[in-house]
Subunit: 396 residues, 2 copies
C-alpha cells in the first residue's frame, strides 16, 4: 500500500435513523460501548451476564432460565432457534406474510426438515384459521414458526392466538420478535411462546449486532433430548448454556462481544427505567402522531389499522414520484434515513421506523416536515404544509 | 421487578488484559465504537466496507476479493470456513496440538464429514511429516485444517510448509489465525492459504465480536460449485458475498454490527499507521523482554523456542503454588488479568498475552513486577526481585 492510498479514521455523519433499523441509538448506550474492555471470564463480567439475564427476562416478560443474548445479529438468533429445535426429517409449519417468513423457510430447509407454508398477503397479519387448517392437514408437524412483527411490511400478527392454536396441535412455537421487543407488547410466559429471538437495533435503542433470545422449559427439554447434534457448533445451546448458565463457574465456549454487551446492558437499563408498558405507550403515541401527519398529507398505510405496528409504518408512495430520489434527498439534505420497500414491496412503499430512542416527537415532526418539503418541491400530488400541524394536534 | 431490585449502569473496572484475549483495546478503537450509528445500507457505510476490505487485505497480505469481517466472534469465523468448504461425506484432515484443533474436529463432524486427526503433543507445533504420512494414507481427503497459532499453548506451526504439503496432495487448506493476525507473520498469498479466519480481540487491539476471514479464488470456486446448500443461512458466503461484494449495489443479507465495524476499521487504520512488519517486530521485542524476566525469575516456557508465539507466552507454575490464587491476587490487587491453562494444560501453566496494543514495555514490566511481588509474598520458589531488571536489559 502506498502512502497516497492510506485510509484514515472513519467519522460517520450524524443521521436520524427512521428506517426499518438500525434506529437511533441512545447516547448512554454509545457511551457504554466505549468503556474499558474486561475479560469474558472476569468475575465482574459474570456479574454483568447475570444482570443481563434479569433485564432480558423483564423485557420479554418471562421467567425462562434460558434467556440470553446470542453473540451475533438477529439472523443468527433466528438460526439459533431453528438449528436447536428442529431435527432432520421434522415437519415445520412456517407462516409467511413478508420477507422474514421466507428466511424461516430457508432455515427449516437447511436443517434437513420439511417446511409447510401458510401464506398470507404481504401487509396482512397471519390468518389463524389458515394455520389451524394447515395443522389439521399435517398432524406430523412438530413446530410452528411465525413472525410477530414483520419488518418488511409493518404488520403485526396475533402471537397469543397463533401460539394457542399451535399448542392445541402439539407443536412448539418459534416467534420472530426482532422488531417487536420493547416497542409493542410481548408477553412470553402469558402467551406460552416456546422460542423467541429479537434484535438489538430496533426498539431497544441499541446498536446492531446481538440477538436476545429466550427458550421455555419445553423448548430446553426438546434441545436436551435431541437425537442428532445441533449442526452449528457456535449456536449449539447445549454448549452456550454452559457459559451463560447459573453460578460463578462458567465453561468457556466463545469469547463474548464484551463492549457490545455493555451497550445492550445499558439499553435494557434504560428500558427498565422507563418501564416496559410506558415504552409501549410511547411507541403508540408517536405512531398516532406520525399517522395523523401522513394522512393529512394524503399518504395511506398498507396494513389494516388493527394490525399496524406503531414502530414500523409502511406507507404508499404518491403517484409519479421517484421514491428512491425522495429517500436520497432526505438523506443528503436532511441526514434523515427512511426505509425502502423490501422484496414484493420494493418500489411500492416507504418504511418509516419509530423505534426505541428514535420514537419521539422531535423525530415525528422532523420526518413529516422534511418529507413534506421534499415532496412539495418535487410537485408530488400531496396536501402540502399540513402534516406537521396534524401531528402536533395528537400531542396536544 | 420491584424498585429495590433495579439494575444500574455497568461501570467496568479498568483492567490490564494480558491473558489469551481479549487484550487491551486501543483508546482510539473505543472512541470509534461510540460514534453515531448509521444504516447498514447507507452510502457512507458502503464506503467504510470498501475500506475495510482493503485494510484486511493489507493485514492478511492478500489480494483475495473475498476478504471480509464475519459479523460474529472467531468461533463463527471458524464455522464459516468449514460450513462453506466442506460437504457431507468429505474427508478432512485436522491437525490437533491444542484446544482449537479439537473444535475444528467438531466442526467437521457437524458438517457430516469425516475428520482424520493428526495429533501432536500440546505445546508442540504440528509435525509436517505426520501430515504428509496421513495424506498419503488418505488420498480421498479434500481439505487440511490446522491452527497457525494455538491460543491454548502458545505454539506456532509452520503454515507455509503445511500448506505446501496439503496442496501437493490436492487439498485446500483452512487455517486458524485467531491469535496470529497482526502479531506474527501471515503471508496469505505467498503461502497459498485457501481459507483463513481470525478474531478482533487478540493482536488487532480491538474489542471481541468480529472475525476477519479471507478466501482464495480456489476456495470461492469450491463454494460456488457446492452440490449441497451451506447448512448455515447466516454464514452462507454465497449470500454474504452479495452484501460485501464490489460496487455500490449491495443486497441486504443481515444487519451489520455497525459500531463494532467502526472499531475494527479504526484498529486496522492503527495497524496500517504502524506498519504490519513493525507490529510483528514490536510483538517480538516485547516477548523477548518478558521472556528475559520470566527466565530470570526461574519460570520456563512449555513451547520449544523455535515455535514460540511472541504474543502468547505459556509458562510453568512454580512448585507448590496455588495458581488460581495467584491469578486472583493479580486481578484484585493489580487489576491485571493473566490467563489460566485450558484443556489438557488446565492448572499446569499460565498464559500471558502480549497482544496488539497490550504488547508494550509498560505492560511487560508491570506484569513481571506484579507477578514477582505476589509470588515472593506467597513464598514461591522463584528468584525474587530480578525479573524487571532482566526485562529492562532487553529494552536497553
Amino acid at each position: 500500500m502506498t502512502t497516497s492510498s492510506k485510509i484514515s479514521t472513519f467519522i460517520p455523519p450524524v443521521r436520524t435513523l427512521m428506517g426499518p433499523g438500525p434506529s437511533d441509538v441512545h447516547p448512554r448506550v454509545l457511551n457504554a460501548m466505549a468503556r474499558s474492555t474486561i475479560g469474558h471470564l472476569d468475575p465482574q463480567f459474570v456479574a454483568l451476564m447475570d444482570e443481563m439475564k434479569i433485564l432480558l427476562q423483564y423485557a420479554f416478560k418471562t421467567k425462562n432460565e434460558l434467556t440470553i443474548p446470542v453473540s451475533a445479529p438477529g439472523s443468527a438468533g433466528m438460526e439459533t432457534a431453528f438449528v436447536n429445535l428442529i431435527e432432520p426429517g421434522d415437519t415445520v409449519v412456517v407462516c409467511q406474510n413478508g420477507v422474514f417468513g421466507g428466511r424461516m423457510k430457508e432455515n427449516v430447509e437447511r436443517c434437513g426438515a420439511t417446511p409447510i407454508m401458510v401464506e398470507d398477503e404481504w401487509g396482512m397479519p397471519v390468518d389463524p384459521n389458515k394455520l389451524e387448517e394447515t395443522l389439521k392437514a399435517h398432524p406430523e408437524a412438530t413446530t410452528v414458526a411465525f413472525v410477530h412483527a414483520e419488518t418488511s411490511t409493518g404488520a403485526q400478527s396475533d402471537a397469543e392466538t397463533l401460539t394457542r392454536i399451535a399448542h392445541e396441535h402439539g407443536c412448539l412455537v418459534i416467534v420472530d420478535a426482532v422488531t417487536s421487543l420493547g416497542g409493542t407488547p410481548i408477553k412470553l410466559d402469558e402467551w406460552g411462546i416456546d422460542a423467541i429471538y429479537s434484535g438489538t437495533q430496533k426498539c431497544l435503542s441499541c446498536t446492531p449486532g446481538l440477538s436476545p433470545v429466550s427458550f421455555s422449559a419445553a423448548a430446553v427439554e426438546r434441545i436436551k433430548g435431541r437425537k442428532t447434534k445441533v449442526q452449528s457448533w457456535f449456536l449449539d445451546l447445549n454448549l452456550v448454556m454452559g457459559y451463560w448458565g447459573a453460578g460463578a463457574k462458567r465453561a468457556y465456549h466463545h469469547t463474548a462481544p464484551v463492549n457490545a454487551l455493555y451497550g445492550l446492558h445499558e439499553s435494557l437499563v434504560l428500558l427498565q427505567e422507563e418501564g416496559l408498558e410506558n415504552a409501549w405507550a410511547r411507541h403508540q403515541k408517536n405512531h398516532l402522531a406520525l399517522r395523523a401527519g401522513f394522512e393529512a398529507m394524503g399518504l395511506s398505510f398498507i396494513v389494516p389499522e388493527a394490525a399496524r405496528l406503531p414502530q414500523l409504518n409502511a406507507v404508499t408512495i404518491p403517484d409519479g414520484v421517484d421514491e428512491a430520489a425522495v429517500r436520497g434527498r432526505l438523506l443528503n439534505d436532511f441526514n434523515l434515513e427512511i426505509g425502502a420497500g423490501l422484496g414484493a414491496l420494493a418500489g411500492k412503499v416507504w418504511r418509516i421506523g419509530l423505534m426505541g430512542h428514535a420514537s419521539n416527537a422531535k423525530n415525528v415532526m422532523f420526518c413529516l416536515g422534511a418529507l413534506d418539503s421534499v415532496l412539495t418541491d418535487m410537485k408530488a400530488p400531496i396536501e402540502s404544509g399540513v402534516a406537521v400541524a396534524a401531528a402536533q394536534g395528537v400531542y396536544g
